[in-house]
């Protein structure tokens, strides 16, 4: 080997924010997951358009729990954004607070959704509509659960003092997923709760 030179440019080493390959990987995962929801909602609209009225069979579902649920989820995204900003500036307490708040808000969403599920007069196998309702909201709920698990693991790792202003790719990557869960809920919410009211 002949050593020619030391490069004139200094490069970052290893995972740092968007330098982490995982950041790109997560974006690709979100793209394919978003497509999955697009196909779910396509199925909803396809079956709705081929069903005799009224659709939904029992009228548009009530907004009483769905609107608070949506707000709770959006708030959970905001708190997480705030927490991520904290660690970018080296404020670990802010990340911990953001993670805790987002976890609580996520759990609140699941409780609200659980109450709504329990109050439905139909089950998964009652009708086409009920199959769609429980499958699609169930898919979303599963994503919320995964998101909560990500937040919990990030909280654990923050507890181990793994992250600071230089190294926090795992946080940045996990947060993308959490925001995705919120955004995709808005699409689900619009489809099930708003679209029937527009006809």
């Amino acid at each position: 080997m002949t050593e020619i030179a030391i490069s004139s440019t200094t490069l970052p080493v290893g995972s740092k924010g968007r330098d982490a390959s995982g950041w790109w990987g997560m974006l690709a995962l979100v793209a394919t997951e978003a497509t999955l929801f697009a196909y779910l909602l396509f199925s909803y609209f396809y079956l709705a358009s081929h069903s005799p009225p009224p659709w939904p069979p029992n009228g548009a579902p009530s907004l009483t729990l769905a609107i608070p649920g949506s707000l709770v989820l959006i708030a959970g995204s905001v708190t997480m954004w705030w927490g991520e900003r904290g660690i970018e500036r080296g404020r670990r307490w802010q990340l911990v607070a953001g993670l805790l708040l987002s976890l609580l808000l996520g759990i609140a969403f699941i409780v609200l959704e659980g109450i709504e599920w329990a109050g439905k007069p139909y089950t998964l196998s009652s009708s086409v509509y009920s199959s769609l309702y429980f499958t699609i909201t169930g898919f979303h709920l599963a994503h919320v659960l995964v998101g909560l698990l990500i937040l919990a693991v990030l909280l654990l790792w923050t507890g181990f003092d793994y992250f600071d202003e230089n190294r926090h790719s795992a946080v940045s990557i996990g947060v993308i997923y959490w925001h995705f869960v919120t955004v995709v809920w808005l699409a689900v919410f619009f489809t099930f709760y708003i679209a029937p009211r527009l006809g």
């Binding site: 080997m1 002949t2 050593e3 020619i4 030179a5 030391i6 490069s7 004139s8 440019t9 200094t10 490069l11 970052p12 080493v13 290893g14 995972s15 740092k16 330098d19 982490a20 390959s21 790109w24 990987g25 690709a28 995962l29 793209a31 394919t32 997951e33 497509t35 999955l36 697009a38 196909y39 779910l40 396509f42 199925s43 396809y46 079956l47 081929h50 069903s51 005799p52 998964l124 196998s125 009708s127 086409v128 199959s131 769609l132 499958t135 698990l149 693991v153 790792w157 003092d161 793994y162 992250f163 600071d164 230089n166 190294r167 790719s169 795992a170």
Partner: protein, 648 residues
């Protein structure tokens, strides 16, 4: 404790495999030997070879299934197989060839070649790469699990409801298919993500997006397509399984469900998938032809854009598989027109290949024969596809052997021929040995003649009204003699494949030593040893043109570059490679690469346990599968100091 380094000015060195610096690299990149190494490796070359080998095993299985079917159909009133046996064989033939051979074999090429083509030391996600192979293997075994019990999937690979509904098919056949496909979808998806991020992140400095080989364009396009297409089929199969086992009503007419929803979801996936399993193969040809024509590819930009355009259009043509289902006339017109438009990018590529051969000085190697004959077969398959894009013609031809002829010209012509040609081309790189040209040319001509004798008559049978998917047919319809010809031709084709495999076997042991670049080829993989060392490149090359190894031989000014092959970034502080910017490939970050690990295998096993549990409806196994999947994932993602994911 010291902090991990956050910045470094990397060393630039001159080195080859023989340099002392390469010993450090070898130590960094070599995994444990023996069965431990075998189960834990994340080396893209090992994984690529496994993909190729496994896909070829599935090709042989699918081929044997076809051979039995052709024996049944050789004469009228054949009764070698019962209708049920035939249904299982032709379903598994389709499933095997389309899902377990056609894409995985291309993933094999791309896994093996990408980092070598791109001047990198591994894929962006080496562990994910291992995981995608293991899941592919387990999903393949899963899909065959019920075959041995005589309960294989039996409603065709397209699996239309209501045939596939529980009411009409109560056995485990369809459940195996449904869950197996969801599991396989996981493998395809993570594999695609890996290719996409690898392209965007790990090209050698200077390899701007307009300098990557066409194979890379093909696999990238296929991967992006998969990202958007695979969810449709995974969802369709999951919904079908839920209809069958959990009592939902998505496809259940009596409760207001829609069987056509299945066809929409299936073909929204299915048609882009067709392009996913041909575009990388076309890329193999676009990269192979220039080597043997001794000139750059004509119309590089046009071919790259045609590749992408084909896939984009491919998402808007799915209903041409459904012309006979009673769709509204408006949508028939749209889908017919959009299907015909696909001819344009395809023709762009065809003319580019013809022009490359025409204006080059072809060297008639075996690989060249496969690549150039592919162009002819592509045109034949393309024309028959163009014919069926027309609604009135399709209404005559759908459900006949014409379609069988078309899809075999497409899949064998555009996938198998480039793949076999690709093996002849890259075998010296993979093994360090040349394949026999003499036996190779024999195997080519026998395959080529056998294929055309076997499959061209199916056009005629289709025009004569022979329906597809029939397990036998009565005499007196005039189909017997052409069927006999088709059977004999396809057996000849099989003999050609067998000769190719014999050639592989013999050449592995007795082939001539290949050296670095036996074909005088232009791309980076030929600049390193054959087989390449575990770290691929002693230094990361700098790329200044599309054909870095041809610089100085070409008179085209813009392509004469100034690439440096044996001088570049050394990056030897552990497993490292360079991360570059997305379009211009300027160095942006030093990437720390993971070492060998069992986690991908464990995660794949956990996920498979989950699916076996779902199939058996053993809910404890499902629970255990979920739990183990989560544990394996968390272990995998646990931040490591070695990967510079944590600072202290």
């Amino acid at each position: 404790m010291t902090r991990t380094e956050t910045h470094r000015a990397p060393v630039i060195a001159q080195a080859t495999d023989a340099s002392p610096s390469s010993d450090t690299l070898r130590k960094n990149w070599e995994g444990p030997g023996g069965w431990r190494g075998w189960l834990s490796t994340v080396d893209h070359k090992e994984i690529g070879k496994r993909y190729l080998l496994t896909a070829f095993v599935f090709l042989l299985i699918g081929g044997l299934e076809a051979a039995v079917m052709r024996a049944q159909l050789a004469t009228p009133d054949g009764h070698l197989l019962s209708a049920e046996q035939y249904a299982q064989l032709f379903t598994m033939h389709g499933v095997t060839m389309i899902f377990l051979y056609a894409l995985p074999v291309l993933s094999g090429f791309s896994n093996y070649l990408w980092p070598l083509l791109l001047g990198s030391r591994d894929m962006a996600f080496p562990r994910l790469n291992a995981f995608s192979y293991w899941v592919f293997l387990f999903a393949g075994i899963f899909l065959y699990a019920s075959f041995v019990m005589g309960k294989a999937p039996d409603d065709g690979w397209f699996n239309y409801v209501p045939y596939a509904s529980r009411e009409f098919n109560p056995g485990p056949n369809i459940d195996v298919y449904a869950l197996g496909m969801v599991l396989l979808g996981v493998s395809t998806t993570v594999g695609s993500i890996n290719f996409i991020v690898t392209l965007f992140r790990t090209r050698a400095p200077g390899m701007s997006i307009n300098r990557v080989p066409i194979l890379v364009w093909g696999t990238l396009t296929a991967s992006v397509g998969n990202l958007f297409a695979v969810p449709a089929v995974s969802l369709a199969f999951l919904m079908l399984w839920m209809d069958r086992q959990l009592g939902t009503h998505f496809f259940d007419v009596s409760a207001g469900g829609q069987p056509l929803l299945w066809q929409h979801l299936f073909w929204m996936f299915g048609h882009p998938w067709v392009y996913a399993i041909v575009l990388p193969a076309m890329g193999i040809v676009s990269d192979g032809l220039p080597t043997f024509c001794r000139r750059p590819l004509v119309g590089y930009t046009a071919v790259a854009l045609a590749t992408v355009t084909t896939m984009v259009l491919g998402f808007g043509v799915w209903a041409h598989h459904m012309f006979a289902t009673g769709l509204p006339v408006m949508s028939l017109s749209y889908f017919s027109a959009s299907s015909m438009v696909i001819v344009i990018p395809s023709a762009v590529a065809v003319f580019a290949w013809i022009a490359t051969i025409w204006t080059g000085r072809p060297v008639f190697t075996t690989a060249f024969l496969y690549f150039s004959s592919f162009v002819l077969l592509f045109v034949i398959g393309g024309v028959s596809g163009f014919m069926t894009a027309s609604v009135p013609v399709d209404l005559e031809l759908t459900h006949t052997y014409f379609v069988v002829a078309h899809l075999h010209y497409v899949l064998i012509g555009i996938n198998v021929f480039p793949v076999v040609g690709g093996i002849y081309y890259w075998f010296p790189k993979i093994t360090g040995r040349m394949m026999s040209e003499r036996l190779g040319k024999w195997s080519f001509w026998i395959m080529f003649i056998g294929f055309n004798v076997g499959f061209f008559p199916m056009h005629i049978l289709g025009l004569a009204g022979m329906p597809r998917r029939v397990y036998t047919y009565p005499s007196g319809l005039g189909w017997g003699s052409w069927n006999m010809v088709a059977t004999l031709g396809s057996y000849l084709f099989a003999i050609g494949i067998a000769m190719f495999l014999v050639n592989v076997w013999i050449s592995l042991k007795r082939g001539k030593a290949a050296g670095r670049n036996p074909w005088g080829a232009p791309s980076l993989e030929w600049s390193t040893s054959s087989p390449p060392p575990v770290y691929n490149f002693a230094v990361i090359p700098n790329v200044a043109s599309r054909y870095p190894l041809w610089e100085g031989y070409m008179d085209d000014d813009e392509d004469t570059g100034g690439s440096t092959i044996h001088e570049g970034l050394l990056l030897d502080h552990g497993r490292e490679t360079i991360g570059t910017t997305m379009l211009d490939a300027e160095p942006a970050v030093i990437l720390k690469m993971p070492g060998d690990t069992y986690t991908p295998l464990l995660l794949a096993l956990a996920l498979t346990l989950l699916f076996v549990g779902l199939l058996a409806q053993a809910w404890w196994a499902v629970g255990a599968g979920v739990l183990l999947t989560l544990l394996a994932t968390i272990t995998w993602l646990w931040p490591q100091r070695k990967l510079s994911q944590i600072e202290r």
